[in-house]
């Protein structure tokens, strides 16, 4: 039986995030801006954000099977989650990162 996940913000877990962008293309810029904002507001002190520019280093896309940019990957806490786009839908992102203050009913 899966325990319902209940979180009180901010999460006590340490978040490890990777954002894949392509230089200063418009959505990459926005995605970065948005993710930084979210991290500052909801994860202050509990996160590591790594920004990878696959326009500069295409081979880094391979390991994680990145097929489009911008892509955000949450490595920790598990499970691995993947988001794509300019990250402007904050609610959806927060939900995906389990940072919403409500229980989910399976």
């Amino acid at each position: 039986m899966t325990e319902p996940r209940v979180h009180t913000a901010p999460a006590a877990d340490h978040y490890v995030l990777r954002l894949y962008i392509t230089g200063s293309t418009p959505r990459s810029i926005r995605a970065l801006s948005n993710i930084r904002r979210i991290c500052n507001e909801h994860l202050a002190g509990h996160y590591d954000l790594e920004v990878i520019d696959i326009a500069e280093h295409p081979t880094l896309a391979e390991g994680e099977q990145i097929i489009a940019a911008p892509t955000l990957i949450k490595h920790l806490p598990l499970p691995l989650r993947r988001f794509i786009g300019d990250m402007s839908q904050t609610e959806r992102i927060l939900l995906g990162l389990d940072l919403v203050d409500s229980t989910r009913h399976p």
């Binding site: 392509t22 959505r27 990459s28 801006s33 990878i52 786009g85 399976p106």
Partner: protein
């Protein structure tokens, strides 16, 4: 059969993966991505998708990458949305590191004047732009002087949409400006305090535009009286033609030197000056600087030295003539085999006498000093076998030379044949000044205890030295006696001809 929980967990994971895949596809189709990654034969290839303004973006991107000024853009939330390659280099952050961060994370802004900050904010508000200077402190602590231009960015509907900043590092220029300022201050200080006169002229008009305090002192004119005049008007060059000539030469060679110019101050005081004029380029304008040095003192010294040198030359030539004469006479009168030794000996005697004269600056020589010098070979006998006795008496140069040579000769003979040639012989040397009118100088050399006295066979130069020569030198009289008790030599002469007078040079 797997437990329920595991299956449910696996289902949830699969569900998530599906959702993500659908999301990805939707995003791609919806144009919500910038680029796609396609697996190529040599690795993943990133394909940037072109939007309708992608062309403009790319052009702008390429252009901005090459611009040497740093370009930086922030959005309405003060987050950095763009920085070009020059900005990356200037601030030491890559694009990836800077994007989304605030400008204050990259550098700290400081203002030279507090008012500048107000002006910047105000300008941006009212005009939508501002240009000025500030100081940016980098993350490593380095301070940069920057020239910044900021422009407010607007959306199509006119709403503010962030700020674009174009930043130029002017640290080097500022340092250069400071160096120039320091240099100017230093120059100004030198100008004011120099102990040479300095005049600054305008090459176009040949007129004085500035004069330092020392120059005003040299000439007796105030600075105001000097400005606007030409050099010939203040007595430095002869006439207008000379002035023109100087400028003409300066234009050719950039430096002109006058070793010796006459200069009369306003009070009529005459000076000799050395003038060095240089044509400089000062911030693009040509300017003439004249350095004027008073060499009156130096010239006086040089003239005096020249006079002394001529005197020394004259005396030296005289002395050489004397030596030559002694050489000739020694040769004429003596045995050729011993000529060299005898001549050397006599020259040594002359040299010793000369030393005394020079030491006393030709003011005369004490009899005691002269006798001791000419008896230098026998100095250890003085007091035991050689006795010197007489009052203080200063001999003239001519007397010193004549008497000195005589004493030298007498000593040489005494050592060869007389009282100093055996172990017991004695020599008594004495002199006196009489109080008779006119006063007389008398000197005697008496030998005792030597080997039996033998009369000289022929007249040698030595006899002339102790006889006629010394007589001629001091208008005196010599008596030589070859007594059985020992050789005796005595000299009398007028004190006036023998003693040094009060004035030098006799």
């Amino acid at each position: 059969m797997a437990p329920d929980a595991t299956i449910r967990r696996e289902n949830a994971a699969l569900q998530m993966r599906l959702e993500e895949a659908e999301e990805t596809l939707r995003a791609i189709r919806g144009g919500d991505v910038d680029a796609l990654v396609i697996e190529g034969t040599s690795g993943p290839q990133v394909y940037t998708l072109q939007g309708h303004d992608a062309e403009a973006n790319r052009f702008r991107g390429e252009m901005l990458a090459q611009v040497s000024d740093a370009v930086l853009a922030i959005d309405g939330d003060q987050s950095i949305v763009y920085l070009n390659a020059a900005a990356e280099r200037l601030y030491g952050f890559t694009l990836a590191q800077a994007l989304g961060r605030r400008m204050s994370d990259i550098f700290e802004t400081r203002w030279e004047m507090p008012a500048d900050e107000q002006a910047a904010i105000g300008g941006l508000e009212s005009d939508g732009e501002w240009r000025g200077e500030a100081v940016h402190v980098l993350h490593d602590g380095r301070m940069l002087h920057v020239d910044i231009g900021v422009t407010r960015l607007r959306k199509a509907n006119g709403a503010p949409n962030g700020v674009l900043a174009v930043i130029r590092d002017v640290t080097e220029r500022k340092q250069h400006e400071l160096a120039v300022l320091v240099s100017e201050i230093r120059y100004r200080r030198l100008f004011e305090t120099a102990h040479d006169g300095i005049l600054i002229l305008d090459p176009a008009t040949r007129k004085i535009v500035d004069a330092n305090p020392f120059m005003t002192q040299m000439l007796g004119y105030s600075r105001a009286e000097l400005v606007g005049r030409e050099l010939f008007e203040i007595g430095l060059l002869q006439d207008e033609a000379a002035s023109q000539e100087m400028v003409r030469r300066l234009n050719l060679t950039r430096q002109v030197r006058y070793d010796n110019l006459p200069l009369e101050s306003q009070s009529g005081r005459h000076q000799d000056v050395e003038v060095v004029a240089n044509l400089y380029d000062e911030n693009g304008h040509p300017v003439i600087q004249c350095n004027i040095r008073d060499i009156t003192e130096r010239r006086r010294n040089e003239d005096h030295v020249k006079l002394l040198m001529a005197e020394v030359n004259h005396r030296a030539k005289n002395l050489l003539a004397v030596v030559q004469a002694v050489a000739d006479q020694t040769a004429k009168y003596g045995d050729p085999a011993t000529f060299g030794a005898r001549l050397s000996d006599r020259i040594a005697g002359i040299a010793a006498g000369q030393d005394l004269l020079v030491r006393n600056l030709w003011q005369g020589v004490e009899v005691t000093d002269l006798v001791r010098v000419q008896l230098a070979h026998f100095h250890e006998l003085i007091g035991t076998r050689v006795h010197i006795d007489g009052p203080a008496a200063r001999l003239s140069a001519a007397a010193a030379q004549g008497i000195g040579m005589a004493i030298h000769e007498l000593a040489t003979n005494a050592a060869k044949y007389g009282a100093l040639s055996n172990r017991d012989g004695q020599v008594h040397i004495a002199w006196s000044l009489s109080t008779s009118t006119p006063p007389q100088f008398a000197m005697s050399w008496r030998e005792t205890g030597g080997p039996p006295v033998v009369l000289p066979i022929r007249k040698g130069f030595g006899q002339i030295v102790v006889g006629r020569m010394v007589e001629a030198a001091i208008e005196g009289k010599v008596i030589t006696e070859f007594a059985t008790s020992g050789f005796h030599w005595s000299l009398t002469a007028p004190a006036a001809a023998t003693l040094a007078s009060a004035e030098p040079g006799t």
